[in-house]
């Protein structure tokens, strides 16, 4: 959906926890509370009572207990009761739902948060149970193996080289050095990556995002409300998402047609893209996405390091939107694109365009 003839909605705050490989004893509430505290502080509000709607994203299977999101409500200060909902998806889709709420006039502001504690389980195996329960899930094909097949297709068709992939990794590691919340950063060269052994051929461990625990949160509001709060903001000028068939054999895995379609509907091509944050859990997928979004040489891709530097399942998509917001309010960009994904081999993709708001 675009912004034409509609109330303009803006991002006004974004916070993310550190990406850590194991959050230890902390439970979900303990992961969420500090992040919410910071995001409220950023806007200058006290708790969820000060926004009109709350929506979260999480997945029960990450921590192996039903109703993970119910505990999340304990972090909100939801007394008296609040307007609240939850998607069993990345919280980027919770942001999408919240925008509908604002557009229909039932809210002027919303808090969105996503959280995941993936360390208790074996994430690639857990996610294998996303697949068709009769044909594929019983085979336990894990997400890394599926992505490896996708990379193999691209290499064999000459669409990428292993060096291209290694360069994605090296840039991620270098960029992550400037991101205090990243898990993997460092002065790494493509040669360093290529020197690694393959792990699930043709992928090297560095081509695969790490497993991270943590949470992130965003506050959105109408531009009027953002001005009332007196905080810097970035306008969401377009947002759209699109899912593809689950049948991997039918899809062209070397491209992302759903990203192309969402990008067209969100208006990515309507202006210069200064910065792009892409949810690419595997190095080759960043190349697929950059091509699908038709990003040029003048676009900075994943200045945060992206998810190769730290991947908060169910929050990373929301964080991508937050990271673009950060670049815009920092004055480093005028216009940027954020991408979120879900499902095996980029099955479901969401594209958001953010633009610098006019100052009040």
């Amino acid at each position: 959906m675009g912004q034409s003839n509609m109330k303009e909605i803006a991002i006004v705050a974004y916070q993310q926890s550190d990406c850590v490989s194991d959050a230890g004893a902390a439970n979900e509430v303990e992961l969420i509370i500090p992040v919410l505290g910071k995001v409220f502080e950023q806007v200058g509000i006290t708790n969820a009572q000060d926004v009109d709607f709350v929506c979260s994203g999480s997945c029960d299977y990450l921590q192996g207990a039903a109703f993970a999101f119910v505990m999340g409500v304990d972090a909100l200060g939801a007394v008296p009761p609040i307007k609240e909902s939850h998607v069993e998806m990345d919280a980027a889709w919770a942001l999408y739902e919240s925008m509908l709420k604002i557009r229909m006039g039932h809210a002027e502001s919303a808090l969105i948060y996503g959280f995941g504690k993936s360390s208790p389980g074996e994430l690639p195996n857990v996610l294998s149970q996303q697949l068709d329960p009769y044909y594929l899930a019983p085979l336990w094909v894990d997400t890394i193996s599926l992505a490896a097949m996708q990379a193999r297709l691209m290499l064999d068709q000459g669409l990428i080289t292993e060096r291209d992939m290694a360069e994605v990794v090296a840039r991620s590691r270098r960029n992550a050095q400037g991101n205090p919340h990243a898990q993997l950063g460092g002065d790494v060269s493509a040669e360093d990556v290529l020197a690694q052994q393959t792990y699930v051929s043709p992928l090297r461990k560095a081509d695969i995002c790490p497993v991270s625990d943590g949470a992130s949160a965003v506050v959105i509001a109408t531009v009027e409300k953002a001005r009332e709060w007196g905080v810097p903001y970035a306008v969401i000028s377009g947002i759209d998402h699109c899912i593809e068939t689950h049948n991997l054999g039918v899809r062209d895995l070397t491209d992302s047609i759903s990203t192309r379609r969402a990008a067209a509907n969100a208006g990515v091509g309507d202006g210069r893209v200064d910065v792009a944050e892409l949810y690419a859990p595997f190095s080759h997928q960043e190349i697929i996405l950059s091509r699908a979004l038709e990003l040029g040489e003048d676009t900075r891709v994943n200045p945060s390091g992206g998810v190769l530097a730290g991947n908060l399942m169910m929050a990373s998509g929301l964080s991508r939107i937050g990271e673009v917001f950060n670049r815009i309010v920092a004055g480093e960009a005028q216009r940027g694109v954020a991408h979120a994904t879900s499902g095996p081999c980029l099955q479901h993709n969401l594209v958001t365009v953010l633009e610098k708001g006019e100052t009040a």
């Binding site: 004893a25 192996g64 208790p120 389980g121």
Partner: protein, 177 residues
């Protein structure tokens, strides 16, 4: 999945497949619960007080759900409690020696402002009532672990009933305090 057009005489409808799912998790209790479990291994019930509304939570979950703020101050509680409400369960617990019918009650320990669920025993089920005073019956100390199960069950106390409006508001010293 069946397809009625293609199910021939020698082509039986498949109505199910066995696909067991085994996933291993290293479950963590959370920092607040870990402190609670450490103390209960020593035979002590503890709660946490909300810095904003002063209410005491047991078992603590790391936040005051009403205020949405972290709880840190630890409060030692009595092992006496009041019946807030209860049910008599007639279904057996798999692998548990307790035989139905047994009483599961919402109990507010003295000094806390919220109930915990536990068993009530050594009583006539028909005489259990809201406001009744009860006390923990602990397992032998050598069996204590990091679990609320260190309390085998609660049993009735010979104390006057707590008026309904005071349930959940008793100090740690109990009815007399």
């Amino acid at each position: 999945m069946s397809d009625e057009n293609n199910v021939g005489e020698d082509n039986e409808t498949v109505t199910g497949i066995e696909a067991p799912i085994y996933l291993k998790y290293n479950f963590t209790a959370g920092a607040a619960a870990s402190r609670f479990l450490t103390r209960i291994k020593e035979g002590v019930l503890t709660g946490q007080r909300c810095p904003r509304c002063s209410q005491v939570y047991i078992p603590p979950r790391g936040s005051c759900a009403a205020c949405g703020v972290p709880t840190e101050e630890e409060v030692e509680l009595a092992d006496k409690a009041t019946v807030e409400s209860f049910t008599i369960v007639s279904i057996p617990i798999p692998g548990n020696p307790i035989e139905p019918p047994f009483v599961v009650a919402n109990l507010v320990p003295d000094g806390a402002n919220i109930s915990v669920i536990h068993l009530l025993s050594e009583c006539d089920n028909a005489e259990v009532h809201i406001g009744q005073r009860v006390q923990a019956v602990w397992k032998p100390q050598e069996e204590w672990g990091y679990a609320l199960d260190n309390i085998r069950y609660f049993k009735p106390l010979d104390e006057p009933d707590v008026p309904v409006e005071r349930i959940g508001k008793l100090p740690v010293t109990g009815l007399e305090g």
